[in-house]
Every structure is written in C-alpha cells, then in structure tokens.
C-alpha cells in the first residue's frame, strides 16, 4: 500500500444516554493510503456516520471517543499524529486542511446567513496565508472546477438560492479548498435525486483522479461503492465485519452479513425473476447489543453455542488485504477460548467450514 493518510485502530465512540450507553462505534480498524478510495457500507444506524465524524473529533455531546487511535499525517510536518489524545489546535489544523468532509444534506450543511464565497473563502483564509481577494479568486476557481456555471456570480449567492445538487457541488468545492489529502464524504448523494446523484459521484471520481486525493465514501448504496471504491469496508453495529478490495469482496463475499447485503440488491440484466432476499430481521435496538457476534440474531449461518458467546476476531485471507470477523473462518484455535463452554462448537464449525469451501 502507498503512504498512509489515515489509520484508525480500535476506535470506540459511545453515547452515554439516560437509558444506557450506546456503543455507536465499537472497535473499528481502517487504513487508507494516498489516492485510494475506501467505501464504508452498511445499513442505517450501523455507526458509519459517527465513525466518520469521530475521525475529525466532530461528535457532539453526549457522544465521546472512549478509546482507540486515529493516526493522520502531522500538520506540523513529518510523521503521523494520533488525533484522539491530540490538543485542540492540532485537531483544528487537520480539519479542513488535511482531512475535509462533505456532509449528507447540502441544504442544511451551509449557513443560510452567509454567501457561498464567504463560507468557502473562510476555509482558505483559515489555513493559508492569502488575502481576501486571493481567497475570493480561488473560491471562484473552485466553484468553476466543481461544475457550477457562472461561478463569478454564484460566489455571492446564498445557499437558499441554489438547488441541492449545486449546493453539494459547492460543499465539495469547500472541502477541496485547501487541497486535503483525504476527503470524507458522508453519504454525499443521499439527499439528491438520482440524476444529480450520478453527476456528483462522477465529479468526486474525476476530482479524485485529478488531485490524487484519498476518499472515504460513506454510503449504504452498494452500487455506488462498487463503482467508485478501490477497497470496501462493511460495517455492522459499530465494527468493520469485512474488508478487502472491492472486486474480490463483491465477487466472493465471506461474512454472512456481506452476503446478505449483496443478496438484497437487484441485478440488472441477470434475467432472473427471483425475489430479492432482504437481510433478515432488523438492526437491533442500540441499547440491546447482542452478545458474542453482534450479527448472530440475523445470521443465516448462525452456529448455536458459539456465535452468541464468542466475539469474532479478524481473520485474514484468502486474498491479501482481506479480513473478515466471523467465527466461520476462525480456525479451530478460534474457539479455544470457550472450548469447554461449547461442545457442539467444533463440529458445527468444521461442517460449515467445509460447505464454505465448496461455495
């Protein structure tokens, strides 16, 4: 892998609410190299957005990062710095400059009281030594670059005078303003209609290629992920259950959750009239986190006596760079912790292991 721009290790973000603690992000490991596109996919409520916000320490109270490491390139130059214990100054220097973010709803993500030029230019003025006139020049240039017509007029427009698609372009321009090495796009197309969606994704893709910036694309749309991403990370209840390069994960998914997600997507032109198979059940309530493997109540390949007891650990393979968290793939040693606890464990594990080999 090329030079790392972001390495997240065992990140944990929790919300201490009156009725209990919600573990929104529960041990996420991720790594993104320069110029790489990583798609983070999963159902609503699986912690994708909170994870993305945690990276820039943007989680509002009562949310709190309770553990883990977030390594990014040090804005002071040279080496990596961990943002979790870092002081506010360092975090602020990373925000917008090293890592920029594009949000879900362009309509509410810009202040209605300030012009586009004001809000975009602000980021430039904040991180770079430029005059106001230069910042304005660059803002106009950026607006043109993201495909906004008549940027020299639009620079003085207010967000409510723009369409959603145009605003999301402006948000992207704002994110690009200081040439970040990583762009976190948190469901950038969810609030837009399909045509506009395609245009925005096209734009992200071309910008990525032109500028060589890495992108973390948070989405629940597997099609989007397949089109843009080099690698993919599947999240379920706050942890990454499977990750690897997009092609191999989509071709041969290993985790039952990934399989279930792929099974719920219609395939164009496959000719089959088969019904779609949705993922069984619902995402469990945040307070009632299942024991063991968090996916076990919904899993098609649930192994009684093991899955509800043991928390699966990451298992590598078969291709390099792939990893899955599922007891199906943990070797016999995977169950050694609770060997005494589960009698049927080993045989069940072996059985499914074989059938998986055939698939």
């Amino acid at each position: 892998m090329s030079e790392t721009v972001l390495r997240v290790k065992d990140l944990r973000t929790q919300f201490a609410l009156d009725d209990g603690v919600v573990k929104a992000v529960d041990g996420v490991d991720l790594e993104i190299g320069r110029g790489e596109v990583l798609a983070v996919v999963g159902e609503s409520g699986c912690g994708k957005s909170v994870m993305a916000r945690s990276i820039l320490r943007l989680v509002d109270k009562p949310g709190r990062i309770t553990g883990g490491e977030i390594w990014v390139r040090d804005p002071a130059g040279g080496g990596l710095v961990d943002l979790v214990p870092a002081d506010v100054r360092t975090v602020r220097q990373v925000r917008g400059k090293r890592i920029a973010m594009v949000f879900q709803e362009p309509m509410t993500s810009m202040s209605p009281m300030h012009t586009l030029g004001n809000q975009i230019g602000e980021a430039i003025l904040l991180h770079e030594r430029v005059t106001k006139a230069e910042a304005r020049e660059r803002t106009i240039e950026l607006l043109g670059r993201v495909g906004i017509p008549a940027p020299e007029r639009r620079v003085d427009a207010y967000p409510f005078q723009m369409s959603g698609g145009m605003l999301q372009r402006a948000m992207i321009a704002m994110a690009l303003s200081c040439n970040p090495e990583l762009l976190i796009a948190d469901e950038p197309t969810t609030a837009l209609d399909t045509t506009t969606q395609a245009q925005i994704l096209e734009l992200l893709d071309s910008l990525r290629r032109d500028l060589g910036m890495a992108v973390m694309l948070i989405t629940h749309d597997l099609g989007v992920a397949a089109r843009l991403a080099d690698r993919i990370a599947v999240m379920y209840l706050g942890s990454v259950v499977e990750h690897g390069d997009t092609a191999s994960v989509f071709r041969a998914p290993r985790h039952p959750y990934t399989k279930a997600l792929l099974g719920s997507v219609p395939k164009l032109g496959s000719g089959s009239r088969a019904r779609l198979t949705p993922v069984r059940g619902m995402v469990p309530h945040a307070y009632q986190r299942p024991t063991g493997c968090p996916f076990h109540p919904r899993c098609e390949e649930f192994m009684a006596g093991r899955c509800e007891v043991t928390v699966p650990r990451p298992t590598a393979g078969p291709e390099p760079g792939r990893e899955v968290r599922c007891l199906l793939y943990e070797d016999g040693g995977g169950s050694h912790k609770n060997a005494g606890l589960s009698k049927a464990g080993d045989s069940a594990g072996d059985g499914t292991g074989d059938s998986e080999g055939d698939a």
Binding site: R53, L56, L58, D60, V88, R92, Q93, V94, R95, G96, K97, A100, M101, F103, Q104, E105, T108, S109, M110, S111, P112, M113, H114, T115, Q119, E122, A123, L126, H127, Y158, F160, Q161, M171, M174
Partner: protein, 333 residues
Amino acid sequence: MLSFLGRRLGWMVITLWAVSLATFFIISLPPGDYVSTLQANAEERGEVMGPAEVAALRERYGLDQSFFAQYWKWISNILLHGDFGQAFAWNNQPVGDLIWDRVALSCFLSVATMLIIWAIAWPIGIYSAVRQYSPGDYAATLFGFIGMAVPEFMLALVLMWVGMRYFHLSPGGLFSPEYQDAAWNLGKLLDVANHLWLPILIIAVSGTAGGIRIIRANLLDELYKPYVVAARAKGLPEWKLLLKYPVRTSMSPFFSTVGWLLPGLISGETIISIVMNLPTTGPLMLGGVLSQDMYLVGSFILILSTLTVVGTLVSDLALAWWDPRIRHSYEGG
C-alpha cells in the same frame, strides 16, 4: 425593496387611521365625560355646579358636539397643527407639552434598562446554551425563573424598604428633598443618578431573566444544526464559529421584535413609576384615564400606536438587513 417599502408605508397610514378612529371611539364609550367627573368631584366636596356652568364647560371643550365632529376636530388639529388638544385635568395645559416633558425621563429609563438587559442577557444566554445543563446553566436558569416570577412592584417595594431601613437612602422620586427646587449642578445630577439606578435595576431584572431564556432557547435551536458541524469541520476555532454561525442565526427572532422597543420608550414603566414615584409618562396616562381626560388619553394611545406601527416596520427592515433569507423574499415578492 422600494416597492415593498412603499406598500408597507401605505398600509401603515391606513392602519393608523383605523387606530385613531377606534381610539377615539373607545375613549368616548364610557358614560359621562370630563365635565361629569368635575361635577362628581364638586358634589363630593359639597358644592353644586349649576346647569349653566356645566353647559358652558361642555361647549368650551366641544363635548356637546357629535362624535364625528369631535373626532374631526381632534385629529385635524393633530395632523395640521401638531396640536394634541388640552388636558382638562392638568389646568388645560397642552397635552403635547405634558407628554414631552416626561418623555425624556421615560426614554432614558427605557434605553438604560435595555442596554443593561442586552449587556447581561446576551453573554449569559450564550453561555447557558453552549454549556447546557452545566452548573452555570442551572444557576442562570434559576435566576431566570425567579426574575420572571417575582413581580416588579414587589421587588421595588422590597428594595425601597431595604434601601431606607439599612442604607438610609431616600429611594423613590427623582430628587432628594434638598435638591427638589435647586438649580441643576453636579450634586443634583449625582442625586438623580442615585435615584435612578434602583428602578433601572428592578426593570432590568425581569427583562434580563426573560432575555436569557429566549436567547438560550433560540441558540439551542441552532447549535446542533448540520451547518455548525460543517463549519467546525473546516477547522474554525470554537468561539469564532459560535459567534459567526449559530449566534448570528439565532439573532433573527431578536431582530423581529426590536421595533417593539419604540413604543416602550414612551409608555414609561407605569407600575414601577407609580410605586417609586417617578415622573415618567406612565402615571400621566393612568391619571388621564381615571379622570376621563379624553384628549390626553387619546393622544397617548395614538402616539403609542404610531410608535408600534413604525416599530414593526423598523423591525421588518432590521430583519431584512440582518437575514438574507428575509431580504430575498421581500425582493422576490
């Protein structure tokens, strides 16, 4: 924008005309008039006013004419000559003079309390919202509830008593007895200041209490909007971000009520003024109502209505200046 302004001004004139008519109608509604009040007072003293005397008085004040004739006489004098008529109960002094004499003090009181309220309520309100449910927020909330719940006159009475009993002050009134008839000098000025801080404080307490609650609520509405997070993601320092984005947006409701201060300038804090014996406009109006002094009361209500209507326009313009969304809706429509 100009057409908007023109339309608004047109409506303002119509509104004021309707208000003046309604005002005059209402003050002439109660049975009897100023002369019958005079008559009753005379009878209380054991005197009797002859019918001739009564009729002469009625004619002199124009009270024997029809409603519309009286209205026309009143309104045309105001519009054409700036003459608000005479206050019967105040020795037929011109109403205008009576009111303007007291406006200075009323204005000073209103402006001073307003500035104090803003200066205290804004920082505390912002703090209270940003540190919601912190000890500081709870303290501000407690103060807010007490300040709003305790009636002003009660606070005034208690503080006056405390001032007299323990600090040997002479609260109430505008001057200490020794300066009552003295010419203006530094001593007299200090004496006035010494008398005014207490009413200002009392009026400011409830205003500040309400202000804190409103500012806190408005700001809490904005504080967690996506645009605040997006601005934070740009790397703005927290305090700068706070003032530029959520505070700025949360001030819109404030601007939409800023024009109401205008009638407040002249209405005079009636209750406090009566309790503390301050010669503002409030007690004057109350006296006018009690003695059925129709020109005095009518003029008062007309001036207050005018200021309210003008204030509303000022509010709308201030809001348009402050909030681009409003500005553009005016320009579009």
